[in-house]
Amino acid sequence: MPKQQANWSPYDNNGGTCVAIAGADYCVIAADTRMSTGYSILTRDYSKIIQLADKSVMASSGFQADVRALQKVLAARHLLYQHQHNKQMSCPAMAQLLSNTLYFKRFFPYYSFNVLGGLDSEGKGCVFTYDAVGSYERVGYSAQGSGATLITPFLDNQLKSPSPLLLPAKDAVTPLSEIEAIDLVKTCFASATERDIYTGDKVEMLVLNASGIRREFMELRKD
């Protein structure tokens, strides 16, 4: 008897794209608001972004049920941290927590492609990018999800991140101003929407800086 293949998968891909860019004193985290399954659209107005702490924002694409479960676990862990330490988690601490949480389910992973953005303890923008099982790295910018392959080469070209192997060690954060970075993000999404069927409808952008957090929306093509 030939080996049986599963006729049911616990996972589904709801599509979507997430992007984050770190600046000298700000961080932009953006994601489109389209939720799909197969070739259908489930909704045009779903947020993939969550604020986990006052200086940490996470955007996740992939299987949104797993994303939601992951968000709840992180929120509960953050509450526990606040009770024990009497302060909010820093972005690098949250980054490590996210990595550990993902790896905890190494053998039945969260189908969640995450990008965590925020401000570090010095107030500089930081972006952490992950795979589904928790491998992570601090970078100057990142894209995840169905449109990532279209956006990443464009950001590589525009943001000219120096190689981490170069000496003297250079800052990964972009010298762009906040307005320029937001404009770049809008351009990324507008372009990805053209060719990626799973990206579109609206892009939700969260901007974190010293004065707090701001949310912006931009309309995208609906086809």
Binding site: K72, V73, A76, L79, L80, H83
Partner: protein, 274 residues
């Protein structure tokens, strides 16, 4: 309470139907420094006296945030209190995770009481030596509960536990009927007055007391030292509020000249000796 042959372990009844170990645990609560709770329709105030074991040490934390809508003040073995607070926090987080809504206070105190009861019926355990004043706000309004080491719990309009709490209870018994409709500020003031009663003449400063509040639209938080000191100064300068009976009249007389002397040379340093 004297030593007797039925008090060695918690699983031994006395012929009179008492569990002495449980009663001894309630004694431990009376030894701790005072904790006070009061509630109105919309707010709950928890206050405590900060007793430091020596001049060199810091004082123990007696008021804990359990969730945005629940706080707890303890008296007795503070280590036991800390552990129970951690349990309460976990319960709130787990409930919130499952039901995406805040844990109703009544549910939490029952869970706490059941947990305490277990320790009164196991030979390898001992009762928790801490009394908890649980204050919280849920859909059915503001609540104040007292959880005993015995596993009993009661709901109160206002209550005080710990050493010299009887003085505070006397004050609260006089004023409690007005608490339900009290404003937030009046509730805090009453808490401070009640707390002052337990100090029995000791100087009242913001370093010796901790005040916390939660209410409709206001997450649980501890008031900072400056705010508390300012409130203390306000009522010290004005003099004690005239309560409704003559027993307090000598207090008011003694406080007024004390306040008048104090206000002139040094704001807030008025001697409270009566």
């Amino acid at each position: 309470m004297f030593r007797n042959q039925y008090d060695t372990d918690v699983t031994t009844w006395s012929p009179a139907g008492r569990l002495f170990q449980v009663e001894y645990a309630m004694e431990a609560v009376k030894q701790g420094s005072a904790a006070i709770g009061l509630r109105s329709k919309t707010h709950v105030v928890l206050a405590s006296v900060n007793k430091a074991s020596s001049e060199l040490s810091s004082h123990q934390k007696k008021i804990f945030k359990v969730d945005d809508h629940i706080g707890v003040a303890i008296a007795g073995l503070t280590a036991d209190g800390r552990v129970l607070s951690r349990y309460m926090r976990n319960e709130c987080i787990n409930y919130s995770y499952t039901y995406e809504s805040p844990l109703p206070v009544g549910r939490l105190v029952v869970q706490l009481a059941d947990k305490a009861q277990v320790c009164t019926q196991r030979s390898w355990k001992r009762p928790y030596g801490v009394g908890l004043l649980v204050g919280g706000l849920d859909e059915s309004g503001a609540h104040l509960y007292y959880n005993c080491p015995s596993g009993n719990y009661f709901e109160y309009q206002a209550f005080a536990i710990g050493s010299r709490s009887q003085a505070a209870k006397t004050y609260l018994e006089r004023k409690f009927e007005s608490f339900m409709d009290s404003s937030r500020e009046d509730l805090i003031k009453d808490a401070l007055f009640a707390l002052r009663e337990t100090l029995q003449g000791e100087k009242m400063t913001s370093s010796i007391c901790t005040i916390s509040i939660l209410g409709a639209g206001e997450a649980f938080h501890v008031l900072d030292q400056e705010t508390v000191q300012r409130l203390i100064n306000e009522f010290e300068v004005v003099g004690e509020e005239p309560p409704a009976n003559e027993a307090a009249a000598p207090d008011a007389e003694a406080a007024a000249p004390g306040a008048a002397e104090g206000a002139a040379p040094d704001q807030g340093a008025a001697p409270m000796d009566i």
